[in-house]
Amino acid sequence: MNWRNPESMNVVIGKVLRYGVILSGTIILLGIAGLAATNGLSDVSGMLAYNPNAVPHDSIDVSLGGLANGLVTFSAISWIELGVIVLIATPVSRVVISVFLFAAEKDRLYVLITAVVLALLLFSMLVTPFIPGFHA
């Protein structure tokens, strides 16, 4: 593929999005199959109980350790979480790749714009959850 060709930018970004979507969709589908097999006939209301007095507000473990543990023990919930994380990471990877694609086009202005967007995005995703007073 010719990365200098502006046409290929659309092709590459289109593919990044498509592969991200297919990967996350497949993982989530497996998770749903597991959920249906293990808990399909349980009452759903227990799983949808929102607890306003605790963080996390859900009964699931949202820590990385909890997620990793759930994945190796084939917990359907953890596999669904992984699929959702891949889905969230898809637009982020699109921004990362765009920085390189604009660099390949030698478009310095857009390398700068896209790099700033990426910095803002990563700051918002990874740093602001730990700043007290944010997202009350």
């Binding site: 996350s24 989530i28 249906a36 306003p52 996390p56 949202v62 669904i80 959702v84 714009i113 918002s124």
Partner: protein
């Protein structure tokens, strides 16, 4: 209700939401949130968490097609993302000091008012292309795409700063409430920047995934992203968005505009109702 029933119901609702959302450049939360809260009695926080995932799914699921077929304007999208991401951070920073009912009333009213210029433009196929100059020229905010009948549409844009400001409002709204960003993005590109309607909705679609991802970390960490809810929502939305993208490419700009005006009215009313205490 059994888990299986819930999953199947939300799957089909989300296909519908994905088709809608991908055509008008909104996230599909407009359909998913009221079904979860009003119909199924799910807590609004879980509904907003599901909406964030629905927005990212609609965005990536349809943008893969729109970008490949070059209807989305990548440069316009990247440029405006400067405003939507900074807006999202600002919204998150001030959320603790704001009254969400007041905000919803204000923004819902703005959406209602913006229906007026939108309806006045009903019937407009391709806007009269403005001259490309100043910042728009420096940033290359112009493009062309091919209609399904083979007609090539060349277009320029204008008033990039107004577009940036409108998109910043969209970002603030996403950061504050988790909803409502897409409508302001489409309006900024359509009313301020004078882009063709299909370019506006598909470029909004392209951007809303990034704006939603900016807030996704906190919703995830808080436990607002419930796997049982978001699994069928994500899967349905991805399928719906793929269908919606194919429909949009074959639709006329005038049809997309009518559809958007209709959804805009619903979004505005939902927002105002929510301010009045009806959880939608």
């Amino acid at each position: 209700m059994f888990v299986l029933e819930f999953v199947i119901l939300m799957f089909f609702v989300s296909i519908f939401a994905g088709v809608f959302g991908s055509i008008v450049g909104l996230g599909g939360g407009i359909v998913v949130i009221p079904v979860l809260t009003i119909l199924l009695g799910v807590d609004i926080h879980f509904a907003i968490g599901a909406s964030i995932v629905a927005i990212i799914g609609t965005s990536s699921g349809s943008a893969s097609t729109y970008v490949r077929d070059k209807v989305t304007n990548l440069r316009v999208g990247m440029f405006l993302e400067l405003a939507s991401t900074s807006g999202a951070i600002t919204g998150a920073a001030v959320a603790a000091y704001t009254n969400s009912a007041a905000l919803e009333t204000i923004f819902g009213s703005i959406l209602l008012i913006s229906l007026v210029p939108m309806v006045m433009k009903i019937g407009e196929d391709i806007p009269k292309s403005p001259e490309l100059r100043g910042v728009s020229k420096r940033l290359g905010l112009a493009g062309s795409y091919t209609e399904s009948d083979g007609r090539v549409v060349n277009y320029n844009s204008t008033r990039p700063i107004e577009g940036l400001a409108g998109t910043a409002v969209a970002g603030v709204l996403s950061g504050l409430l988790g909803i409502g960003g897409g409508a302001f993005k489409v309006l900024s590109m359509d009313l301020a920047m004078k882009l063709p309607m299909k370019v506006s909705t598909t470029t909004s679609n392209f951007m809303i995934g990034v704006t939603a991802a900016a807030s996704a970390g906190i919703y995830f960490a808080r436990g607002d992203v419930d796997p049982v809810i978001v699994a069928p929502v994500a899967l349905g939305i991805l399928i719906g968005a793929a269908i919606g993208a194919r429909i949009l490419l074959r639709s006329r700009n005038t049809t997309v505009r009518k559809f958007f005006a209709l959804v805009l009215a619903v979004a505005a009313i939902e927002m105002i109702l929510s301010a009045l205490g009806v959880s939608v």
